[in-house]
């Protein structure tokens, strides 16, 4: 029992709990993002409500955690790395909550796609996009779980794939305008835009972790 007595053991526990809860929330959001991708690419209309329903606990958890971070800021007077982490945590919470909302928004577009003729090129691009953004988001959650500053530093480059695929998707949709109809076009634009936004949130989360760890925000427009 050397060093039997950390001076702020209880406070350290609280910070650990916040980090663990962030990872858990991120995992819940990530799971819903993947599910939204499946719903969109396989047209599983019957699972739309499940994805929407799964966002409720995410929101509840978000508010709960936000309050906890707020309370710790008020009561424990964090400084230095603790302060950076908690400030980053409030931003990460916001990014995660928004990402969860975007997954909900994505599945809501699925009904508009009902009855649209199958197009392999479009399905392939949506699949690639959903996969890429989900991976980006997973990576961000990993950065939180391991407090890995490197992930945030490389995040902009990593995110380029999503941007490229989104551009390809928009081009393909425009070309097939007449075949699939205006409503499906709008739906697909939204879906593309939302997945891309999710990946952006993932980038931001990883960058907030970089800030929490190093005290510096990664270069880029962050």
């Amino acid at each position: 029992m050397e060093s039997a007595f950390d001076t702020r053991h209880h406070y350290d526990d609280e910070l650990d709990d916040i980090r663990a809860a962030l990872v858990e929330l991120g995992s819940m959001v990530a799971a819903n993002i993947r599910r939204a991708g499946v719903v969109v690419t396989e047209g599983r209309l019957n699972e739309v409500d499940a994805v929407i329903g799964a966002d409720r606990p995410i929101n509840a958890r978000y508010h709960d955690l936000e309050e906890k971070v707020f309370t710790i800021l008020a009561l424990q007077q964090p400084v230095a790395s603790d302060l950076r982490f908690l400030v980053a945590a409030t931003r990460i919470l916001y990014e995660m909550e928004r990402s969860g909302d975007l997954a909900v928004n994505i599945v809501k577009q699925v009904r508009r796609l009902d009855g649209v003729p199958t197009d392999l090129r479009l399905d392939g691009l949506v699949l690639r996009l959903s996969d890429a953004s989900a991976r980006m988001f997973d990576h961000a959650v990993e950065a939180v779980a391991t407090m890995n500053a490197a992930i945030g530093i490389g995040a902009e480059q990593e995110d380029e794939e999503t941007d490229t695929v989104t551009g390809d998707l928009f081009t393909a949709v425009t070309e097939r305008q007449d075949a699939i109809g205006l409503e499906a076009c709008v739906a697909l634009f939204y879906i593309g835009r939302f997945f891309e936004r999710i990946a952006d949130h993932g980038v931001n989360i990883a960058q907030h972790i970089t800030f929490a760890v190093t005290g510096e925000f990664p270069d880029g427009d962050g």
Binding site: I18, A30, A31, V104
Partner: protein
Amino acid sequence: MADRIGTTVDSVDHTRPETLEDASPSLAATRSPRVTGGTPSDEHAVILELSDVNAYYGDFHAVDSVSLPIREKEVTAFIGPSGCGKSTVIRSINRMNDLIPTARIEGAITYHGVDLYAPGVDPVEVRRRIGMVFQKPNPFPKSIYDNVAFGPKISKYSGDMDELVERSLTRAALWDEVKDKLSDSAYALSGGQQQRLCIARAIATSPDVLLMDEPASALDPIATLRIEELMYELKQEYTIVIVTHNMQQAARVSDRTAFFSVDVKEGQRTGRLVEFADTATIFTNPQHDETEDYITGRFG
């Protein structure tokens, strides 16, 4: 929230889901966060109740009409500017004020429903159940062992004294530092260690309640944080009341906070209770402007 597009999801829904597992992730091993400090539940029973307590020193009205409940296994902090009567109130709880000849308490302080100021109540018995730790570490000029053993000895403790001393010192997070020098003078310890020794001495008599009158004000920051951490551990077993002039300390350690202020009337300074609430509320959203001004450092 401006960039939210086409969503009808109610994002201010505070209700918890039936089962979190439904939405549970596969990605990372998770553990649910436990309830953090500052959000006490009302499950803890009231162990001490101050009702309309007035304190006088001779003709001087020191504290005006304080009423508040103290719940068991919580840390209750008294904060406020100098002369607000917070020390007077805490010292009245175990009748330490009896030792000041001119001091007088009116109103009732009940402990498990029994009025501590009822005729026939023995203050010595009260103090064995409601122990006290003082502002300046005040070990007896004796060995570390004798310091801890004194209380149990006078209350005719019949068990294994060595074991009790070890247990008390362990609970006070001091055992590892002193186990090889129990017969050394307590004065050989550092200030922070002395204060933990005083805490060990206080808990050796197995009190219900520990009163701490500015227990860290004479200590350096690290020793202070150790005492605070110790308080967090001790509240699993004891009810703690702490007076502190350090607001941040109250924020860090307490579950509930009482803010006292002082009125100056005709040259007399009379303390009174302004606000009593759970600590998170006091420090994030106090209901009284006076509290707000004090904790934000704009008054006092």
